[in-house]
Amino acid sequence: MLDAEDGETLLEVNNIEVIYNHVILVLKGVSLSVPKGGITALLGGNGAGKTTTLKAISNLLASERGEVTKGSILYRGEPVAARNPAALVSRGVIQVMEGRHCFEHLTVEENLLTGAYTRKDGGAAIRRDLEMVYDYFPRLRERRKSQAGYTSGGEQQMTAMGRALMSRPETILLDEPSMGLAPQLVEQIFQIVKAVNEGEGVTFLLAEQNTNVALRYAHYGYILENGRIVMDGPAAALRENPDVKEFYLGMSDEGRKSFRNVRSYRRRKRWLA
């Protein structure tokens, strides 16, 4: 595992504010930094602004009529705003979007190949990586010739992940990678994240609801609520934090709480006054 402290900072988000449609203020001053070679997790409830943060980083907000109105985002010290999303991919930042976003009419394999769009290292290398992705996700090998639109939810998630890996990125922004995946596959995906991170030094910033797994694999975590960072720290420390335990890991003092007992009590997060 890499020590986040002394590594070089790859991505820096400084106090950004994001507004949709000129009226809806979603991010109210978010700052975070992602060290090179690390796995950083961005946690938080629904509508906290995780997706928005990731989209701001890869400059995809424009097509949703959102804009960064304050603050700056620097990738390797350069403002990302200056580059279009495609150029950012060439620079090594790729995002796996929430909700899969596969190209429905392309086959699974064609989907994966679009991931290699920006690569210049020739067909052989691309084929090799394709094999690698199929090794990671054997299910995709079986479905390679199917139109992505007709594959199951989980298969689409794998396709989206595989597509990102195909671009040989330096940094991957993962938005809810575990969503809709079977438990052993969730574990597997994070294993892959870990393997890619350690083996190839790829940096990860992942937004996750599945705090439990995320904090097991991440080095550092930020907790975002209501458009603000409410807590951050090394993953191990966060895991031990009683509030995190209670609200994000679903642990009570005697171990895991049962979902059947939820009816009996309900405590609110303090910091949401």
């Binding site: 507004i19 449609n21 000129h22 009226v23 809806i24 203020l25």
Partner: protein
Amino acid sequence: MLYREAGDFKTSYRDDGQTFPIRLDRVAYYAVLIVAFLIVPFVINDYWANAVVVPFLIYAIAALGLNILTGYAGQVSLGTGGFMAVGAYAVYKLMTTFPEINIIIHILLAGGITAIVGVLFGLPSLRIKGFYLAVATLAAQFFLVWLFNKVPWFYNYSASGQITAPTRTVFGLAVTGPSTSAAAKYLICLLFVFILAWVARNLTRGTLGRKWMAIRDMDIAAEIIGVNPLSAKLSAFAVSSFFVGVSGALLFSVYLGAAEVGEAFGINKSFLVLFMIIIGGLGSIFGSFAGAAFMVLMPVVLKNLLVGQFGWATDLAAHFELMIVGALIVFFLIAEPHGLARLWALTKEKLRLWPFPH
């Protein structure tokens, strides 16, 4: 902080469901009605009536109709011109066959006939979707125009195939025919617009409207939660065609007075009305009006400006007019893809927050 809803509490579901929940809007609405019904008729002249206001009102009905189909029910149609022709020829046949019956009834019947034709041509929508459907509705457009052109019964066997509206009166006041006053034309159109807009509003906020919108947003899901796509789509076609038929009837009988199908109800009409609702705002009653106003007024304003004010040659002005209208369409779409209605709503939303930015 004039414009806001704070303090404007609703205590019943009926109040909450009303058309203009904000008091200021309500006041503005009644003010517009008073001006439209009680003041304008006394000041309107031929030019304003014939060149601007009457076509605006009539197109607003057509736009409302198409908006129900395309904006609310999501079925893109390019057959509007053809359906307007059905309305026009229906009213012509009715007017000339039953001269003793009131024209208002004829116009409503013409709408009804158009609704039936609309349902017929709407049947393929059960299978065909999106742009395919749009192009398929062109079949209706071209076929209907051909039919009215080819079958002499429709134009009472006149030599040239033109139809001409005879004079008909309402309460002793001529509303069609050459001697109709500007005010009479205006009032009859206004009356139809007012009632139909109100009906459109009622339909779209209730059960039927929800069915339409559900089909529009995701037809499969709508079907699975219990919306019968057949009845939803066909009812949209029927209601929409009724509106369009009425507007065609008015266009011919009140506004043009004489018409030839290919010229007056050609494919350009279909596109024109579609432009209106997209520019105005899909799925918005207000948008239908805004779009109709834009597409009717813009060319007139530009022409008066370029030729009247700047004294340009008419052909240069006409070419520039095309360029400017085109550029404006693109400009508005970029500024707000959801049309003038959304632009207006956003402005209001900002006003509501004012003086805070968000």
